[in-house]
Assembly symmetry: D2
Homo-oligomer: 435 residues x 4
């Protein structure tokens, strides 16, 4: 069986790489993956998959972190200009850019494989030493770049879909391949969860390529995995006054915000584990001689566990409120994304690692924690609550530049192997036809 | 008439100086002037005055800033040991240490003259260069000193009472001489006002000796007078926890207080005039390795006008509350004294200055504002609201050490002249028998 | 004489109003008054005045607050496109936009009259209820507006120049009319002072129109005049780090700035008089999940006197430095303008008020202080140090909208009267030919 | 062999308990263990040990955290009055209260066993439900209590010395039993290390009784052990001024301290592990109406490793300095104790645990980290640097009240077993006579 899968992977390899380069050249930010998602849908349709788009798998009431309406429209128009497939675009309007393939063969367990599709607000390196530039597929969208490999995740996901469709009769039950938007915003997984699309899933997993590891190395986090994270915007609203003639008439939103910055950093440490807080941006005030009437900050909290992050959020909310009160200001808090913390289920992760060791499609290993965050954990927590299990896989794809840097790149060789491994894991293990 | 008054003053001069030295030797803090007040009462009784004591002229519901019960008892016992007159002590128990003389001769206007009687928590200089030490009447009460001249005010008030009793038939109407406690606490005037004792008063004035001015110089403030003031104690209550093993379990009252200190100092300035705020004392925490569960601060606000002080108090209350909320702490605020701001009525003050210029008992002048505070303004505001007028007189009594210093002293020559001037002002002007 | 002057003013009135409207339509910000200044020079030249431009009366080493080079070039180009007179533009390149007329008639005292020429970054109201819009001379430069009357000051200054040139033989000595740039930045007067152009001046005065006072009311400040002011930009420089994975590697410029904001507001009040401080704008941070490496604030201090402002500046510098040190950050402070405080000389101001009362060209009055600031005081202080005197005149020009608002306007009737009054004051008093 | 040791332990058991109760009744704080240390010396001498006292094993230049001279004298006098042995007291004057036994039998390895001797500033419970009170050996020194079991450590150490002296010929090499003062201050180990007394030691260990664990349970920390800790007092010095009349003349030490409190709590978290900081006490200011001229704070930092604590100390020092600069204040920092972090060497700890499992004198187990601190790690680090190894043993001694509480007590049964185990470990393993 494994050889048949490898052969299918070899045959789709050129196509997968072509797709990855196309996505790379036209990167799109969270909830504006209009072009990307429409082409995913086209590929899945042409492979014969049943597809789900937009509201079918995203709950409209659970969407946060959406760009403003004018930005959504502008990016929609760009997608059209850059070759989006109009057959699938309609239902994506307004940011509903999730797509999924459903591959079914009779009754049996339901497995979900999730990849993410969005890019980052980074300007890609343009000189010849950067392979995408040298080969002509560097980003043409100014200030936007696939600097975390989601183009490759998407391509690998499509590769797996194509292989699985070829071998559909070897599958028992259902496979759902989810192309999730807005992972970088930590906002895309939640509406998928709330849509109910995962309610029947008993096993779920995702992959992430790492440019700094040796190519082909497969790992699962153990014990300590991703940090839980919450993101907020906070707007303090005061009252303007001339700083020379009527200082008493002002309510100084900047001083309110300054109190918040100091006190957020001073949230007590927790003996249960690591916590984080950061106010990464603050914009305040109309001008030098005016008491500031509006200060807007972007902040985030993290915790080694969801409980630790909840602790940070509780303190942060109280501090923001008290800081506004301190200077008689109003306060508006906008949630901008959240994700639980955690790692895959140890036994399920072990099963995958062991399977990798046996098949040798990828090389297995274990690693410890990652202070980064992943909104896949919304999906995993949901599946777990219903009795299922899951794992977060990392696949080495180096050598390449650092993640989230203008130099980021991956070794395209791993695309094919990853598609093969995912397919084999499903066919030979998760959705195995009983012998 | 003026010559007759001067003669009476000359004859009582020795007695006034003896009394001043006696009060100086046995100084008592606010609301514990038991010995002082009992001897005032004895002197007034022996001069033949009608007297009022304690609750007769102090409203029990309006007393704030009282010492703790054990301190009241301890000071009461000391007064007994130091020769208080037991005939008058009973009604003073618990801090009711105001005394007043009422001198009446038929119908006519009611004039009030107020002096203050309390001392300061200062250790008096004991070397021979300090006149009270050289002459043997330096304080015998450790850590307490008449360092602001209230002993002399009291003696001058008694001198005036004796002179006026001698010349009672030259008076038309009523003179009330009020010996007020707890002026340094800014707490003694308010209960006298609320007792109703001033309700029929149409003219009120007070005197204050200044050791740094030339002896005999009389002045009234003009335009800008005393600052309004409010005093508070604020207690922040958190929760202890071991700082190493359970930092998350604490609620840090010290950090709450630190926020308050910074933000109180940062109350916006006011374009209507001068404001002040100070946290003068803070005591917090059980020990180095414990999250602090209690922080107690002593603070005050001031304003050039009562409205400006109200502005500061409003901000301070909001900031204290928000600072407690900031760290999840409780807050208890205890008012510790307040006084309105202001100065005497310009026309009434002018009248006094002009009268002084004419009689030459004291030398008249004008002066501008004083950033200090005076709870006499409670009395003055009350009289004004009922259509009356008042003035705050200052009398030079130098050369002497600085007020509120261990070297403070006054020139005793001014006692007699002040008693004479006050008496003359009443007899020849305020309660003049129409010609 | 006064009638002859009034006649001359009447005859130039239409021209003055035309000029004011032209300046109003093409407003220019501080140091970019290229079009305005070139037209001033053309008018002065055509009136026959000797003129001084740019570096002749501005010391290059004393210029602060200049816009960036690209903005200077952009505004220069716009001035050209909007009809600047190229005959005079050359020496103004780089922000040297001061112009002066020198009117001389033999030996005698040197008098200086200063007006200012720059506009404000405010978007003018465009509806018909706003007279400049209704009459077609509202600003065509987006986001820039003459909202403080400097267009009218300039026109009145040109009017006075024209009248004085007509009557030059009635003048004894020299009159310098200075058209100063960048008053709103508090940056234009200082380079004029440092150029030496005022070294021989014995009397100096300026005018300011007030839209909220009755038209024609002339006043001089008395006792308390303008506040001294200092403006700074402060840049805190830290180090970026990922807030989740390496918080210890960051140096948080935003937290440094937050400390500064709180502590600047908490500079102790001063018993000598009013002080002010404001951080009116803060921009910090690259993004939510990055420790902030750069925070830029715009601040200002003020004081009722120059000494009080110096006190505030001393504290502010120390606080900014300590705040940077607190979080291991670097600090760069850029002075953005300063002006001494004060008011005109009382006797010289009295002389002007009395002269106004006599001539009745304007209606005289007195007024108290103004919490605003004026860099004219650089000029006045300089003249005073050399034995001269000066005054700051205000002229009612209402009814009109509030200064520094999109509705601001003035009654153009006062232009002619002001030009006449200034001319008469010079001819009949300051540079009078002895009878 | 083990049976012989157990028998010796049984025979000394009564004496050990008597000694523990005596130490418990007369508790002494760090560096004032005069009575305790003199009786330790007497016991060791009577057992025949070579003894070392004071400066022989404490480097005078390395002592910090000493009580003031008058307190040292007062406690010395109390020790005399409470039965200290004058034969040994002389060299202890000034706080040199370390004592050691040296037990030598020919050449061989040098092993050190360390116990601590000081008490805590806690008032012991006096009611009958508290065993020491019921049995008549509760503390007679008001406000001082052995609430962490050091009385028992000392008694167990003496028990081991007595047993080892009985069986001296079974020992090869040297055993040093160190009775260290001032462990609660984290100040007593450092001067012993610096004296050179441990330079020849190749194995070192200590014990600590835990009242909340089952009696007889022996454990060693593994991986994560004690936190490193540093303790400081910081004094901010400003300038007094009257808050109403001259606020500008003050330099506010309380506001400086408030800045420090906020910023210390806001030291960035570290991705390498747990850190702590606490300002546990602050005392500031002479009174409400005076700008505060002195604020004294007690603070501590901790880190999961010595490097993490160093990171906290670096930040703390910079923040304290910047906070003083912020308000123009002076700063004096006094180190009050420090200890490295860590745990025993894993292999040496394993050896001990395994030995315990074999002998069954105590019941062995493993446990994870402890957020508390221990200055034993100075000794362990020193021995390690010279090639040696060590371990920190904990012995269950419950049921008893919580450590550092007025109810703390231990089960005295463990004293004998601990003395036996320590002796056996030395005789049968660490200083075993080769078979």
């Amino acid at each position: 069986m494994i050889d048949e899968i490898k052969k299918a992977a070899d045959e789709t390899s050129g196509e997968i790489i072509r797709l990855r380069r196309d996505f790379h050249k036209y990167p799109e930010l969270g909830f504006t993956e209009f072009r990307t998602a429409s082409l995913i849908a086209r590929e899945l349709r042409s492979a014969g998959c049943e597809i789900k788009i937009g509201r079918e798998i995203m709950d409209p009431g659970s969407m946060i972190g959406l760009p403003p309406a004018d930005a959504l429209q502008r990016e929609f128009d760009r997608a059209l200009a850059q070759g989006a497939d109009t057959e699938f675009l309609g239902p994506m309007r307004g940011g509903f850019t999730a797509v999924a393939a459903v591959i079914k063969n009779g009754d049996g367990p339901v497995t979900a494989f999730r990849v993410d599709t969005d890019a980052l607000p980074i300007q890609e390196r343009s000189n010849e030493s950067h392979p995408p530039a040298a080969k002509g597929f560097a980003s043409v969208n100014s200030g936007i770049m696939h600097a975390c490999g989601h183009d490759a995740h998407t391509a690998a996901g499509l590769g797996a879909a194509k292989i699985l469709m070829r071998l559909r009769d070897k599958i028992r039950g259902t496979v759902k391949i989810i192309f999730q938007p807005a992972e970088e915003l930590i906002c895309g997984a939640w509406p998928v969860v709330k849509s109910g699309f995962l309610d029947d899933v008993s096993r779920i997993f995702t992959i992430h390529f790492y440019s700094l590891w040796e190519s082909g190395l497969l790992s699962c986090t153990r014990e300590k995995g991703h940090f839980a994270i919450s993101k907020f915007d906070a707007k303090f609203t005061g009252a303007q006054a001339h700083a020379g003639s009527r200082p008493e008439a002002g309510r100084d939103a900047l001083t309110a915000a300054a109190n918040a910055v100091l006190n957020l950093n001073a949230i007590p440490r927790h003996s249960d584990g690591a916590t984080r807080v950061n106010v990464g941006r603050l914009t305040a005030g109309p001008g030098r001689n005016i008491i500031c009437d509006e200060a807007v900050m972007e902040l985030e909290t993290r915790g080694e566990t969801t409980a630790l992050n909840d602790y940070m959020v509780d303190h942060a909310m109280r501090i923001l409120k008290a800081s506004a009160d301190m200077r008689g200001c109003g306060l508006e808090i906008t949630p901008m994304g959240f994700a639980p913390g955690g790692s895959g289920d140890p036994d399920f992760s072990s099963e995958i690692i062991d399977y990798a060791a046996r098949t040798r499609v990828l090389n297995s290993s274990w690693r410890q924690r990652n202070c980064g965050s992943e909104d896949f954990h919304h999906m995993l927590d949901h599946v777990r609550k219903r009795g299922g299990k899951g794992a977060a896989l990392s696949v080495g794809a180096g050598p390449g530049g650092k993640p989230h840097s203008p130099d980021f790149d991956i070794n395209e060789e791993v695309l094919k192997d990853t598609a093969a491994f995912v397919s084999a894991l499903i066919i030979e293990r998760l959705n195995m036809v009983s012998a």
